[in-house]
């Protein structure tokens, strides 16, 4: 489908040298102060950190962990591990890890952290690497082979716990090259990153800044709105929840939310007024939200990717279809299995297996060389734009073999303002039923029944909800019924309302 039409450059191996020549700055906050450091100056500390890592007896291929908030040390550490040929194990700064167990599980030779309470016997304070002397002038950076790992990536597994993989060097080169081909970052651009650097995609922006000579504005989450307003970046690397928050902030700040000019002014004020585009990914975003930002002078581009494939599709200027996840990047090919599951082939694959995983987990995802089964369901339109419609694990197969994508049915039901929340059910059952949380707790069965009959008229016959149960208590994250991104946690909901659901098949 989409063949490699752009040469992939060897970016990782030239990173250390490029630091010496790169225009642009690292802008961040340190010890309560704003700092802006040109990349060649960052390189001096990277050389110190290389010396420090060498003094610890680390050699190319060793696994080194970092657990720290976004900031200067993260950047120095990361670029130093690349220069030394190490494999980073990036850890969530807010998580409490069983240090000894983690060290063994991931063969971690060394663990740097800024977490004050971390066990000092196994971990080292991050700041001490900056006290070392720089390496000598005859020192040269490590050269990775294309299939060498450069960093761990951790992915949340819903059934068997988190899974880890080691990203191959060639996949980093490919992602950098192809994203640059779409967005042409360069001098004058400032990309703000506030999500944790332990998320691999954030570090791609660091490498992009070095290689393509733009500014990186790296901030902890607590400073994101301050940094947007005061630094006026050109690109915001975000996920849907920050865009939902900005929309709410803008609409509550203005006197009249219908006053388009006032809303636009407030959106621009929050974003700093200099946005070239907004990046969104990682989770589905509503089309309305995309249109909101597009209408307010901040073009927003949705994409699709996952840890196992990196970024696979993306909308971009001139090739934007809001509601879709965009077209395949060069080197990515999209296909579907018999259930509509999205399969992605990567010319420069991220990994070929998880790190020390159960064979069945590897087999379910890494289905053949370079091909990953994503677990998502979707389709391509005639022009090659990808649409994601749900998760394969949520697919309902009725007893008549008809397949129902519950998200699509629920979306139709939720178009009715009378329905606050809903979940459809019916795997291996003769017809579809639903749990309905009415917007008005006093709503009658008759009234909701009428709403559902109206919604059914828009649905294909096997997608129609034939019976329903009213649920007076909203599904909440606190009750364990929603994820942190407000998605239904279907299994716990089914368990909680099992009797109500089964009763709908007995009437």
């Amino acid at each position: 489908m989409n063949q490699e039409s752009v040469m992939v450059r060897d970016q990782v191996n030239r990173m250390f040298q490029q630091l010496a020549e790169s225009q642009g700055n690292l802008v961040t906050y340190r010890a309560g102060q704003r700092i802006s450091i040109p990349w060649p100056e960052v390189r001096v500390d990277v050389r110190r950190a290389c010396n420090y890592l060498g003094q610890q007896g680390l050699v190319a291929g060793d696994h080194v962990a970092i657990q720290a908030q976004n900031g200067y040390e993260w950047v120095v550490f990361d670029l130093a591990t690349l220069a030394c040929g190490l494999v980073t194990v990036p850890l969530d700064p807010a998580a409490a890890y069983p240090v000894a167990e983690f060290r063994e599980r991931y063969d971690i030779r060394f663990w740097l952290t800024d977490v004050p309470e971390a066990d000092g016997e196994l971990t080292r304070p991050l700041g001490e690497m900056l006290d070392a002397d720089p390496v000598g002038v005859d020192w040269t950076a490590h050269v990775y082979a294309p299939d060498d790992p450069v960093s761990f990536k951790f992915t949340s597994g819903s059934t068997s716990g988190p899974k880890a993989m080691r990203a191959l060097k060639k996949s980093v080169d490919a992602a950098l090259t192809h994203v640059q081909g779409l967005f042409h970052h360069g001098p004058g651009d400032t990309i703000i990153v506030f999500l944790p650097m332990s998320t691999y995609q954030m570090r791609l922006w660091l490498y992009s800044a070095v290689v393509y000579e733009h500014d990186l504005l790296l901030v902890p989450r607590s400073l994101v709105f301050y940094a947007l307003e005061t630094e006026a970046p050109t690109v915001l690397m975000g996920v849907p929840y920050i865009y939902e928050a900005i929309q709410k902030m803008a609409l509550t700040a203005v006197e009249d939310p219908q006053d388009a000019a006032a809303v636009r002014e407030e959106v621009q004020r929050i974003l700093g007024g200099n946005i070239r585009y907004l990046w969104t990914g990682s989770a589905p975003i509503s089309r309305d939200l995309l249109l909101f930002f597009n209408a307010n002078g901040a073009p927003i581009y949705q994409g699709y990717g996952m840890n196992e494939i990196c970024i696979a599709t993306k909308n971009y200027p001139g090739h934007d279809r809001p509601g879709s996840a965009g077209k395949a990047l060069p080197g990515k090919e999209i296909a579907f299995d018999a259930h509509g599951q999205i399969l992605v082939r990567s010319e420069h694959e991220v990994a070929n297996a998880y790190f020390r995983a159960r064979p069945e987990d590897d087999a379910a995802t890494f289905i053949k060389p370079k091909w990953v089964a994503t677990g998502d369901i979707g389709h391509l339109d005639a022009d090659g734009y990808l649409y994601i419609t749900g998760r394969i694990k949520d697919l309902i197969v009725l007893s008549n073999a008809a397949k129902v994508h519950p998200n699509l049915v629920e979306k139709t039901l939720l178009n009715a303002p009378e329905i606050r929340q809903c979940m459809v059910y019916g795997d291996r059952k003769p017809y579809l039923v639903a749990l309905i949380v009415p917007t008005d707790p006093a709503a009658t069965r008759e009234a909701i029944g009428e709403v559902i009959r109206a919604a059914n008229r828009e649905l294909r016959p096997h997608d129609r909800v034939l019976r329903f149960a009213l649920v007076r208590e909203a599904f909440t994250e606190e009750a364990g019924l929603l994820t942190s991104s407000n998605k239904l946690r279907r299994k716990p909901i089914i368990q909680l309302y099992q009797e109500n659901l089964e009763a709908l098949y007995e009437q």
Binding site: G32, R221, K248, T476
Partner: protein
């Protein structure tokens, strides 16, 4: 507002005023930001950002770890009182 020092609002009053703008219902000091006020963590960042301006506290003194510890309205008040105390000492 008059110049009478007695009319200067307390930290708790300023925090309450700002939270009232984003909360859908009345709340007290022990109410939870997420469960009771419906404030997710990123919106809490936006409220804290505005409060730093209103209470003249340097936002650069805040870390993500400060915010992780905020569960109730009272926690926000106590955090700002502590920051003001540190700043003035």
């Amino acid at each position: 507002m008059s110049n009478d020092p007695q009319s200067v609002p307390s930290v708790a009053q300023v925090v309450h005023q700002h939270l009232e703008k984003v909360s859908k219902k009345p709340f007290g000091a022990e109410d939870h930001l997420r469960e009771d006020l419906g404030l997710d963590s990123i919106r809490l960042v936006s409220v804290v950002t505005r409060l730093t301006g209103a209470l003249k506290v340097s936002i650069l003194s805040f870390s993500d770890r400060d915010l992780i510890g905020l569960n109730t309205v009272g926690d926000v008040v106590r955090l700002f009182e502590a920051k003001i105390q540190t700043q003035s000492s």
